[in-house]
C-alpha cells in the first residue's frame, strides 16, 4: 500500500472544499412546503414521502468535472439546509445572525430571508416538530433544563447505521418492488407505510437518473469536459448512475456510488446528524475483490474511488441552532466508518479495503468520515502500526474501539451475539448494531455536576440564585450534612427525581417524532421495518434503545472526593466554610482551592479513593435508569461522551468542589480526566478509566488523549504505542482517541486562522477544523494535558 498516491484529481477536489463559501439554503424548504400545501388531505407519512420525492425530483444538482463519485443535497458544497419539518422558529429567530454567530456561521441571501418569513415560516408555525414540542411540552422540558438537556427537539433522529448491504444488493428498484409486493397483501393500516416507501423509492430512482443525465450532458460540453480525462470520467459517471438507478451495482465504483446516494437521500429525508455507513470494509469487499480479480481496477484506482467518497463525506454539513451548535461544534456530521474487528465467527477481520481506508485518511486528513478502528486481542500488529502512523499525522483519526469491551456491553443490553459481533459506530462514539437499530443515542444529557451543586446548596442555583423547583428542599445542604452518607442520600434522592422527569420528557419528544416525522425511506433500510410494515420511529426496528449521557463523571468524582476527604474524613474544613467558598467562587479561599487541587486525589491518576466514587455514582445512575423502558419498548442505557457539551454544560455550573471556577468547562471527552489534573501519565489514566465498568458505556464512551508529535518519531515509539493499545484492549476500555499536535501550533492557529485553515483537531468523538471552533472551545483544547514531553 505504501506506493499508493493521492491523485491530482483528489487534491483539487480537496482544495475546492476549503475555498467554498457556506450558505444557508431554503431551496428544499420551498419544495417541502409547496408539497405539503398541495397534499393537505394526505396522512403525514405520505405527505413526507411526497415531499422527499419532490425534493429528489427538483432540487438543483451539480457535478464537478473532477468528480468520480457524485451527489449532494444542495448544488453548493457544505450548505446548511433549512428544514421546515424539524423546525422554523429557531431559523426565524436566528436567520440574520447566522453569518456572524461564534460557532458554525453560514452566509445568507436577503431574498431568502424574506421568502422564508412570508411563505415558509407561517405554514409551519403549528406543524413543525419544534413548534409542536414547544407548544405541548415546553414547561416540562424547561423546568428541568438546568440539569437535563433533552435533544432531538427540532430535527429528525439520526445516529443510525442503515442496512447498506441490502441497499446495495437490491437498490431502490428492488426495494420498490418489495414494497409493492407487501402492499398487495397487507392489512389496511399498513398501506400508507408501503405506499410511502414506494413514493420515496420512485424519487430515489429519478434522482440517480438525473445525475446520469447531467453527467451525459456535461461530457458533451467541451468547455467543461475540456480534457480527455474529464470526458472519460463524466461518461463513466453517467454509465454508473444509469446502471444503478434500476439495477444492483456490478463494480466497486458503482457500489460506492450507490452507497453515497443512500446517504444523500437519508440526509434529504431527515436532515439529521450521523447516518453512518458502518463496516464498509465488510460489505464493499465483494465488489472490490471481483474487480481486482477481473483485473478491471488496480488498488490505485480503488483508492481514488475511496478518496472520492471521503471528499463527499466532507461536503455535507448539518446546520444546527446556535445553542445546539455549541454542544455539537464544528459540524460533527458523523459519517462513521468502522474498520477491522471480529467477524461473525469471532476471528480477526481485515482486508485491502481496511487498509485503503487508512490510506485515504492518511492522504486527506479531513474531518469526515469519522474513521474508527475496532481492536481486539487478535488484531495484527501490522494493522495497529499502520493505524498509529495515520494517527500520528494529526487528524485525530482513526479513533479506536475495543471489541473486548463493546461486544459484552451490547450483549448486556439484550443484543444477540451475531449482531453484537457486527457492531459499528454512529456519529462520534455511539455504539450500534448495523441495519436494525434505532438507538436514539442522544436522547438527553444529564449534568451530574449541576445536580451535585443543587444538592449541596439545598436547591439554590449558584449562578442565578434561583430556587430549583424539583430539588428536595428538606434535605439540608453542605453546611448541615453531618456525614458523607447524608450527602450521598440527598444526592441520590434528587437524582431519582430528575431521572424520572427526564424520562417523561424523552417520551414526549419520541411521541412527537412518531406523529410528525415518520420516515418511510429510512425505514426501508432498517430491519425489519419493511417486512413488518412499521415505521422506524414507531418502533419498527429490531433494537430500540435510548441513550443518556452522564456529564461528567470526572468532575463529579473529584468533587465528591474533595468533600469527603477535606470535610468529613480529615475535617480540614467545615461544610459551611466549603459551601461559602463555592458561593464566592473561591474568592478569598485560594488556600482551600489549592488544597483541593493538590491534596485531594483526582480521577485519572489511578487512585481508588476517588476513582471508586466516580464508578459508584455512574453505576447508581445507570441502575436507576435501567428501571425504565422507552416509548418504543426498548432499554435506556448510559453513555459517557460529551461531543462538545463540556463547554456549555460547564458554563451553567457554579464553582465546583473539585476546585473548578464557576462557568469553566468540565472535563472533556466523557471518560477523560479533568484537563491538567492527570499527573501520573497516560497509563494511570487508562487504569482509572478501566475502573468504570464496560456496561456504563454501552451507548458509547469517549477517552481523549493528547500526545506531542515527537512521541511518534521513530519505529520504537510506534511499537510502544502498539503495546499501549494492547493494554487498552486488555483493560476493556471501550474507546480511545489521540490528538497529536503541538500546543504552539494551536496557539498560532488561534492568532492566524487563515494560515491554519486545514488544521484538524479531535474535539470529542469527532474531528473538526480547529479554526472553525469558537474560542472557548479552542482554549479548552489547548489546556488539555499533553503527553510525550521528556
Amino acid at each position: 500500500m505504501d506506493d499508493l498516491i493521492m491523485t491530482q484529481r483528489i487534491s483539487k477536489l480537496k482544495e475546492k472544499i476549503h475555498s467554498n463559501v457556506r450558505y444557508a439554503s431554503i431551496e428544499q424548504a420551498k419544495i417541502i412546503t409547496d408539497t405539503y400545501r398541495a397534499n393537505e388531505d394526505k396522512p403525514k407519512i405520505v405527505q413526507r414521502a411526497l415531499a422527499l420525492k419532490a425534493s429528489l425530483n427538483r432540487i438543483e444538482i451539480s457535478i464537478d468535472p473532477d468528480e468520480l463519485i457524485v451527489g449532494n443535497r444542495t448544488a453548493g458544497i457544505r450548505y446548511g439546509v433549512v428544514f421546515p419539518e424539524g423546525g422554523t422558529t429557531w431559523v426565524d429567530e436566528e436567520f440574520e445572525k447566522l453569518p456572524t454567530r461564534a460557532q458554525d456561521p453560514f452566509e445568507v441571501n436577503q431574498e431568502d430571508i424574506i421568502y422564508f418569513r412570508e411563505n415558509i415560516k407561517p405554514y409551519w408555525e403549528t406543524k413543525s416538530l419544534e413548534d409542536v414540542i414547544q407548544e405541548r411540552y415546553s414547561n416540562e422540558i424547561n423546568e428541568i433544563s438546568t440539569v437535563v438537556k433533552i435533544n432531538q427537539k427540532d430535527h429528525a433522529q439520526g445516529h443510525i447505521c442503515p442496512d447498506s448491504k441490502t441497499w446495495l444488493a437490491k437498490g431502490p428498484q428492488g426495494l420498490l418492488e418489495e414494497a409493492e409486493s407487501y402492499l398487495e397483501n397487507c392489512p389496511e393500516e399498513k398501506k400508507d407505510f408501503y405506499k410511502s416507501v414506494i413514493i420515496t423509492m420512485e424519487g430515489a430512482i429519478t434522482f440517480i437518473e438525473r445525475y446520469a443525465d447531467l453527467a451525459n450532458k456535461l461530457s458533451n460540453d467541451s468547455t467543461i469536459a475540456n480534457t480527455e480525462e474529464r470526458k472519460i470520467s463524466l461518461i463513466k459517471i453517467a454509465e454508473n448512475c444509469q446502471h444503478i438507478s434500476r439495477k444492483s451495482p456490478e463494480t466497486f465504483h458503482e457500489a460506492v456510488q450507490l452507497l453515497w446516494f443512500l446517504f444523500v437521500i437519508l440526509q434529504m429525508e431527515s436532515n439529521a446528524s450521523s447516518f453512518s455507513p458502518g463496516r464498509i470494509d465488510k460489505f464493499l469487499y465483494p465488489y472490490y475483490k471481483k474487480d481486482i480479480d477481473n483485473g478491471t481496477i488496480t488498488k490505485q484506482d480503488a483508492l481514488e474511488i475511496v478518496e472520492s467518497l471521503w471528499i463527499k463525506f466532507n461536503q455535507i454539513v448539518y446546520m444546527r441552532n446556535s445553542h445546539s451548535a455549541k454542544f455539537f461544534a464544528g459540524f460533527p456530521i458523523g459519517f462513521n466508518i468502522a474498520l477491522g474487528g471480529l467477524d461473525e465467527k469471532g476471528n480477526d477481520f481485515l482486508n485491502d479495503i481496511s487498509y485503503l481506508c487508512l490510506k485515504a485518511q492518511e492522504h486527506l486528513g479531513m474531518p469526515q468520515p469519522n474513521l474508527s478502528v475496532r481492536l481486539h486481542e487478535k488484531t495484527s500488529d501490522e494493522f495497529i502500526e499502520t493505524a498509529i502512523k495515520v494517527v500520528a499525522r494529526g487528524s485525530g483519526m482513526p479513533q479506536f474501539f475495543n471489541d473486548k469491551s463493546v461486544i459484552p456491553a451490547l450483549r448486556e443490553q439484550g443484543i444477540e451475539y451475531v449482531d453484537a459481533l457486527d457492531y459499528a459506530i454512529v456519529g462520534c462514539v455511539e455504539l450500534t448494531t448495523q441495519g436494525n437499530n434505532l438507538g436514539w443515542s442522544d436522547a438527553a444529557m444529564f449534568n451530574l455536576n449541576k445536580l451535585l451543586e443543587l444538592t449541596l446548596t439545598g436547591g439554590v442555583d449558584l449562578l442565578t440564585s434561583k430556587k430549583e423547583k424539583y430539588i428536595y428542599s428538606d434535605q439540608g445542604d453542605l453546611a448541615t450534612f453531618s456525614n458523607f452518607a447524608e450527602l450521598e442520600s440527598a444526592f441520590a434522592k434528587n437524582m431519582d427525581r430528575y431521572i424520572g422527569l427526564m424520562i417523561k420528557a424523552c417520551e414526549y419528544v419520541e411521541s412527537a417524532h412518531i406523529e410528525i416525522l415518520p420516515t418511510a425511506f429510512l425505514s426501508s433500510v432498517i430491519n425489519p421495518c419493511l417486512s413488518e410494515g412499521i415505521d422506524v420511529t414507531a418502533g419498527g426496528a429490531k433494537y430500540n434503545l435510548s441513550g443518556i449521557q452522564m456529564i461528567q463523571v470526572a468532575n463529579l468524582a473529584d468533587s465528591l472526593a474533595a468533600i469527603k476527604l477535606l470535610v468529613f474524613d480529615e475535617k480540614k474544613v467545615s461544610g459551611a466554610e466549603f459551601l461559602e467558598a463555592l458561593k464566592s467562587n473561591f474568592q478569598g479561599y485560594e488556600p482551600l482551592r489549592q488544597m483541593i487541587l493538590n491534596r485531594v486525589p483526582k480521577y485519572g491518576n489511578d487512585n481508588d479513593y476517588v476513582d471508586n466514587l466516580g464508578t459508584r455514582w455512574a453505576e447508581y445512575f445507570k441502575n436507576r435508569l435501567s428501571l425504565y423502558k422507552n416509548y418504543r419498548g426498548g432499554n435506556y442505557h448510559t453513555g459517557m461522551y460529551t461531543v462538545s457539551a463540556h463547554v456549555p454544560m460547564g458554563e451553567v455550573v457554579g464553582a465546583s468542589p473539585d476546585g473548578r471556577f464557576a462557568k469553566e468547562p468540565l472535563a472533556d471527552g466523557g471518560m477523560s480526566p479533568m484537563y491538567g489534573r492527570d499527573l501520573e501519565g497516560p497509563t494511570a489514566v487508562l487504569k482509572s478509566v478501566s475502573k468504570l465498568d464496560k456496561n456504563l458505556t454501552s451507548n458509547g464512551g469517549l477517552l481523549n488523549m493528547k500526545f506531542l508529535p515527537k512521541f511518534f518519531e521513530n519505529e520504537e515509539s510506534i511499537k510502544r504505542f502498539v503495546s499501549f493499545l494492547r493494554a487498552f484492549v486488555e483493560l476493556e476500555i471501550p474507546h480511545i482517541q489521540f490528538n497529536v499536535v503541538n500546543r504552539q501550533d494551536l496557539i498560532e492557529a488561534q492568532k492566524d486562522p487563515d494560515r491554519y485553515r486545514s488544521l484538524t483537531i479531535r474535539v470529542a468523538g469527532y474531528t473538526a477544523y480547529f479554526t472553525e471552533l469558537a474560542t472557548a472551545l479552542q482554549d479548552e483544547i489547548i489546556a488539555r494535558t499533553s503527553y510525550g514531553e521528556f
Binding site: P591, M595, D606, E680, G681, A684, K687, E716, S723, Y787
Partner: protein
C-alpha cells in the same frame, strides 16, 4: 535483618517512562550517587539525604508554613528560607502547605510498598514493558535494590537497571541474575578528565566494565555514553571508549545518548550549578549523531544500539 523492614530512598517513580529499556516501563529513581557529574540530568538524585525543598512556582505565599513553624521557615523577601538545622517534625510543617510547594525531595518505601506501586502498571509490562531502576546510583542501595529486583522477577516483569558502575563488583554481582538489561554509563575515558568533571576516578568503573564484559551476563549489558558537548562528546573520548570496550568483548552493545538540554530546568531546585548555566547547547542533530555513531563503528563497535 528483617527484609520487610528494609527501606529504599526514592525520589521519583515515573510511569509510562519510554526511555531505558523496551516498551512501556515504570522507572524508579533511587536517591544518592557517588558521582557528581557537572551535567547531571537528575541533580536532585545526587545527595542521598531526604530534605524539605521549596518550589517557588507552586507557592501562593499564604504563609501557612511559616506561621505554623517560624523556627523552621522564614522569609527573605519573596524567598522562602528553610532552616535545615531545625530538629522538629518536618512532616507536620509540610502537611500545612496547601499547594505542596513545600515538600520532601524524596520518600522512604519498603519493597512491598514499592511493588504495590509498580503493580499498578503491570498490564503494560505484559506487552513488552517492565520496570527500570535508576537514580542516582541504584546500586548504592544494594540491599533494597536486590530485594526489589527479586520481587519484580517473581512477578515475571522485565527488569533493567541504570548504573554508573562506581560501586563494588560484589554489589553488581548480587543483582545480575535478576536483571534483564544493565545499562552501564562510561562517560569519560581519560581518568584525569573524569575526576575533574565527575569528581571520582574511573578506575573502578573500568574494572567493573572488564568484569561485566567477560562474565556470563555480558549480553545483558549495554554500555552508554551520554553526549555532553565539550565534556564527553569529543572525537578522542568516543573513539577511546569504543576501542576499549570492543577490545574486551567485540560483540558489546554500545549506545550514544543525545544531549538533553532540558536537564537545566531541574537545577533551580538544588544548590548545584549546571555546567552550561550560561549558554545551554541544543541537542545534536541527526547528522551529528551519525558522526558520533560512525566514530564508534570505526573504533570497533559492532552492535550499536540506536533508537
Amino acid at each position: 535483618m528483617d527484609q520487610s523492614s528494609i527501606q529504599g530512598t526514592i525520589f521519583d517513580i515515573q510511569r509510562f517512562s519510554t526511555h531505558d529499556g523496551e516498551g512501556i516501563r515504570t522507572n524508579v529513581f533511587l536517591k544518592g550517587c557517588p558521582l557528581a557529574c557537572v551535567w547531571c540530568q537528575n541533580p536532585e538524585g545526587i545527595d542521598p539525604k531526604i530534605e524539605p525543598i521549596w518550589l517557588p512556582d507552586k507557592c501562593i505565599y499564604c504563609k501557612a508554613c511559616s506561621d505554623y513553624a517560624p523556627a523552621a521557615i522564614s522569609w527573605d523577601g519573596d524567598n522562602l528560607v528553610i532552616n535545615y538545622a531545625y530538629q522538629g517534625d518536618w512532616s507536620k510543617i509540610i502537611e500545612k502547605c496547601p499547594t505542596t510547594a513545600l515538600r520532601f525531595n524524596a520518600g522512604k518505601m519498603t519493597v512491598l510498598q514499592l511493588i504495590t506501586e509498580l503493580k499498578k502498571d503491570e498490564v503494560f509490562y505484559k506487552f513488552g514493558g517492565g520496570v527500570t531502576f535508576s537514580g542516582g546510583e541504584p546500586l548504592i542501595q544494594i540491599d533494597f535494590l536486590e530485594l526489589a529486583l527479586i520481587a519484580s522477577k517473581q512477578r515475571g516483569w522485565n527488569t533493567a537497571i541504570e548504573t554508573a558502575l562506581n560501586v563494588s563488583w560484589s554489589s553488581i554481582e548480587r543483582v545480575l541474575p535478576y536483571v534483564d538489561t544493565l545499562f552501564a554509563d562510561f562517560k569519560i575515558f581519560d581518568n584525569h578528565e573524569h575526576m575533574k568533571h565527575t569528581f571520582v576516578s574511573n578506575n573502578l568503573i573500568k574494572e567493573n566494565i572488564g568484569h561485566l564484559l567477560t562474565s556470563e551476563f555480558k549480553d545483558k549489558v549495554i554500555i552508554r555514553t551520554p553526549l555532553i558537548p565539550i565534556y564527553t562528546a569529543t572525537k578522542e573520548n568516543i573513539s577511546m571508549i569504543a576501542k576499549y570496550i570492543s577490545k574486551i568483548y567485540p560483540e558489546v552493545k554500545y549506545e550514544l545518548l543525545n544531549y538533553n538540554p532540558l536537564a537545566i530546568s531541574k537545577y533551580p531546585f538544588t544548590n548545584l550549578t549546571y555546567c552550561f548555566s550560561d549558554m545551554n547547547p541544543t541537542a545534536y542533530t541527526n547528522e551529528e549523531m551519525l558522526y558520533f555513531q560512525n566514530l564508534a563503528l570505526e573504533s570497533g563497535i559492532r552492535n550499536l544500539v540506536k533508537i
